[in-house]
Each structure stands twice: as C-alpha cells, then as structure tokens.
Amino acid sequence: MKLNQISIFLENREGRLYEACSLLGEHKINIRALTIAESDQFGILRVVVDKPEEAMALLKKNGFTADLTDIVAVEVDDKPGGLAKILKIIYDNRINIEYMYGFVEKSSEKALLVFRFDDSDKAISVLTDNKIKVIGKKDIVNL
C-alpha cells in the first residue's frame, strides 16, 4: 500500500519547474499530487503520478536527478478536524512525519493526504487498524 513519490532535484532557476512538468505532460503522465520544497539555492519537486516507473525512466533520460520515495496516501473526510484525526493516530503511535502535503479530490467529498513517514510500514498498519483508508496504486490511477 506504499506509494511511490517521485522526488526531483531542481536548481533554482527560471523555467526549470516548467521543463520537468512539461516533460511529464508530453508523455501523458498525469500528476495526482504535487508539492515543492525549497531552499535558497535549490528546490525539490515532489509528485505523485499515475505511472511512476515510466516517469522515472523519462526523467533520468532527460538529465534530471530524481528518485523514488516511499509515501503513504490516505483519504480523509473533507471537513474540519479531518486532518487532526489522522495526526492524532500518528502521534499516539510515535511515528515521525518527515513532511506531508494534501489536496482535495474533485470527484468526492474526500481529501487526500500524502505523508512521508520515518516508518511507512508501521504507519500503514496503525492507520488501517484505525479504519483509515490508505490509498493503493490502483486508486491513484483511478483518481
């Protein structure tokens, strides 16, 4: 149930984000979730896509430094307290979050949260135990 996020190293210069995204677009790779982490010198583009292996090969071929990262995506109710409920479970089980980001699904009343945990397997197990829906690879394609 772990998903692959693609992390891409981007130099902080004009057009570089566009180059990465247009490359994916031209090859019909759909971005399902996206966030950018930045420092003063460089950024890391993090994307969840429908075809991660294909996207990785494509990026490498085109000179990007990129890597696959294990992430966990969960679905929560799109209403106040939805995120806090998940975070409480994570906190109660002493799992550390390296970073996270979220977005709203267009087709339902749910929001999708993407987590990078220090221990993904443990996180999946406690979330499932608590009846939280963890998104699988197939779900991502169908979103």
């Binding site: 996020q5 992390s7 130099e11 982490a37 010198q41 460089f42 890391i44 000179g63 890597d67 990078r116």
Partner: protein, 433 residues
C-alpha cells in the same frame, strides 16, 4: 633609498661571480644535508663538482611542489628541526599543507630582503607602516614585520581584517605606508566612503601590494582613489615569503634580489630557458638559505624578465607582473587555492563524486568570492531538504577548514557542469582585475 647598494646595484660581472660562488656552495650543502634532493641530483647524475659557475645551473634538476608534498612535513629540511626558529605553512595541492622552515640565519635573510623591499617601494627610516597582511602561519604579516624592524620603521601590526579599525588607525596615527592585498586596499576605500572618510585625504602615500594577481588598471584605480603610489611585491613561501622581488618608484618591473634568489625563466613544457623578454615560468634557486634551500624551484608563475639597468640605479633583473599560472592554482583573498584540494574534500565525503567547479568573482568594491558548485549525483540525492542542506553544510565546513576562507557551496543538478574531453575546466574566474 637603496637598502643594500653593494648587492642591488652590483656590476653584473661581479654579481655573476657572487652567484657562481654561492651556487657551488649551496649545491654542495644540499648534497650533503638534504637526502631527498641529493637523490634527485644522483638520479640526474650531477654531483657538486659539476657545478663551477652560475651557468651550470641548467644542469640541475627542478624542484616542484610535489617534492614538498612527498616530503611532508620536514623531509626537505637540510638541518635538524631544533635549528629551525620558525615554521610557516601554505596550501598544498591535496590534503597536507606546504611546510617551510626558517633558521635564525634565514630569518635574518628574510629581514634583509624585506628591508630592501620597503626601501625599493619608497619607505624612509622614519616612516610608520600599517601591516594589514595576515599575521600567523601565512608569511605576509611576519615577513613585512621583520623587514620593517630591520629597517627601523614604526610598525602598526594591524594584521588583516577589521576594516573600521584599520581606517581609524590610518586617520588617527597617519602611517605613510600600507602593506596589504590590492583588493583589500580597494575594499577599504568603499568602507572609508561609507564612514565619511575621503580616501584621497588618507595618510598612506605608498602601498606595497601583493599575494594576489592584479593589473595596471587596478593600480590606476588604487592610486587615483587613495592618492598614493601603488607598488607590487612578489614572493612565495617556498622561497622565503614576501621579499623575492619588488617594484621601485618607476613601476617598470619588479627587482628580483638575484644575489640570493637566482631567477630563470623557462618554457614550462620543454624546461629550456626562453629569450630575454619572452614569457615563461619563473624558476628560482635560493642561493644562501640554510634551513630549506631549494634548487630551481618551479614557481608556476608566468613572467618575463629583463636585465637592463633600471633608472633607479639598481642592476638587479626585473620580472614583469605575473601574467598567469602554468597550473590551475587560483588566489582568492591572498590564499592559494588548488582545485585538487577541493577534490580531496569531496572525495572524502561519503558518496560525493567530484564533479565540481569553482567560480571566483569580485564585485566592485568587494572582496573575492569563491563559490564551489557540486553536482548532486543520484546516490547522494535525498527527497528531504534538510539532508541536502546538511550535505551542503558539511562540504562548506570542510573546505573552509582547509582553505581558511569563507566559501559558498551550491548544489547543482547532475551533469549540469560542463564535461570536457581531456582536462576538466575546474575554475571559472570572473574577476576583472
């Protein structure tokens, strides 16, 4: 005034006699006292009896920075360590620094040649000198200090940095002479203006600038800005530190003190001498040093040389300003930097492949900046900013601890640094000197 007229204005024939005698003595001395250099002489099938005049110098093998590295730290010392009164270090090409040692006589020699430098630049015995070269393991500060002591100047041993204090010393004490790097002198002018001091009204009348390359246009700018005479000093720690050569008021080449530091200019590839006035690599033999004398040391500095007598009366040959290097060393804020030092650091940090580039820049009125660009290879890439920042920090700290100057480390994309066939272009020097 001329500090040592007998030597600096000697008749060329007499000078040649002195040089010949000294060369014979130093070759015999090294042969007896310095096993690594004796081994080089033996390998070249040269013994002291083959050296009868200064013209025989071309028979001798060269000494290079690699010899210094291979014999780290004290292998090239010709005397037991207890005879050494002072040790200085400068950058080595990798890992270990270059070590040089001075006996009591060598310190006396250093004082003598630095007194010549100060007089040659135009100092008079009653002057006050502000020494803004770094004091410490770097030879600049102490070299000037010894010369000024010898000459009897009043010394302000300010060392480098602390610009506001430098300017206050100048304003309140009115020293007539300034010794520092040329870029620092221009930097101080900017700072002076910010403090409401008009550099044109500054007390410095003579500047003795060195430890980094500079041009005629920089000279004009310094002279116009500070209303002073800006002269060039040359030296390198392997030979003595500052005190190898100095410009007189005519600024037409640097007088090299050839009675003690014998110069040759050679074609760097063939090792053969070039014609007078042609550019080549400066090679120096220390004719009188006791602690760590060197034969035909390859300075890697490109100069030309001329032997005609100067209008100032000195007959000592004159070398041009340095026009380049035969290796990839760069000088940043007076510090010698070899790309190989950076490579060494990168190799030492786990996982880092040495695809890197050095970019040196000097913005108007500011000091040199050294940027080290390092490619993020797939195996060191992380999806977490903090891990990449930690890597950046580690590289920066290790480089800074080796070079002793601030650097900026920038992580760049894999394969974004241009690859070249053959020798990689490791340095981009954007400075307009």
């Amino acid at each position: 005034m001329i500090w040592n007229e007998a030597m600096e204005c000697a008749d060329p024939k007499d000078l040649k006699g002195i040089q010949s005698q000294r060369l014979k003595e130093i070759v015999a001395y090294i042969y007896k006292n310095c096993p690594p250099l004796k081994a080089k002489l033996d390998a070249a099938k040269i013994s002291p009896k083959d050296i009868n005049s200064i013209d025989d110098i071309t028979k001798l093998p060269f000494t290079t920075k690699n010899d210094m590295r291979d014999n780290y730290p004290f292998g090239l010392f010709s005397l037991p360590l207890k005879e050494f009164k002072e040790i200085h270090v400068s950058s080595g090409t990798t890992g270990n620094p270059t070590v040089v040692g001075y006996t009591k006589e060598d310190i006396e020699l250093w004082s003598e040649v630095m007194a010549r430098v100060l007089c040659c630049a135009g100092a008079n015995p009653n002057d006050m000198i502000q020494i803004a070269y770094g004091y410490g393991l770097f030879t600049g500060g102490l070299g000037f200090h010894y010369g000024a002591l010898k000459m009897g100047l009043t010394i302000l041993p300010a060392s480098s940095g602390q610009t506001k204090r430098q300017l206050k010393l100048m304003t309140d004490f009115k020293p007539g002479i300034l010794a520092c790097t040329p870029s620092y002198c221009l930097y101080m002018a900017e700072e002076a203006r910010d403090l409401g001091i008009n550099p044109k009204e500054g007390s410095w009348k003579v500047g003795i600038f060195g430890a980094e390359p500079w041009s005629e246009s920089m000279r004009k700018e310094i002279e116009a800005t500070w209303n002073m005479l800006a002269t060039d000093v040359y030296g390198l720690s392997e030979i003595i530190g500052p005190g190898v050569a100095q410009e007189c008021q005519y600024k037409d080449g640097l007088h090299i003190f050839s009675d003690v530091f014998y110069p040759e200019v050679i074609n760097a590839e063939t090792g053969q001498p070039v014609k007078e006035g042609e550019k080549g690599e400066l090679v120096i033999t220390t004719l009188t040093k006791r602690g760590m004398p060197l034969l035909r040391y390859r300075t890697r500095d490109i100069v030309s040389i001329k032997y005609e007598k100067c209008r100032c009366g000195r007959t000592s040959p004159r070398v041009s300003k340095i026009t380049g290097r035969t290796d990839d060393m760069i000088i940043v804020r007076g510090i010698n930097v070899f790309p190989s030092q950076i490579e060494h650091v990168l190799l030492g940090i786990e996982g880092t492949q040495p695809h890197y580039q050095l970019i040196v820049d000097r913005k108007t009125g500011e000091l040199d900046e050294l940027e080290v660009q390092v490619e993020v290879e797939p195996k060191i890439f992380s999806d977490e900013i903090k891990k990449l920042k930690m890597l950046e920090d580690k590289i920066r700290k290790e480089i800074e601890s080796i070079l002793g100057i601030f650097v900026k480390v920038t992580l760049v994309e894999h394969k974004s640094i241009q690859r070249s066939e053959g020798k990689a272009k490791r340095v981009i020097d954007k400075r307009v000197l």
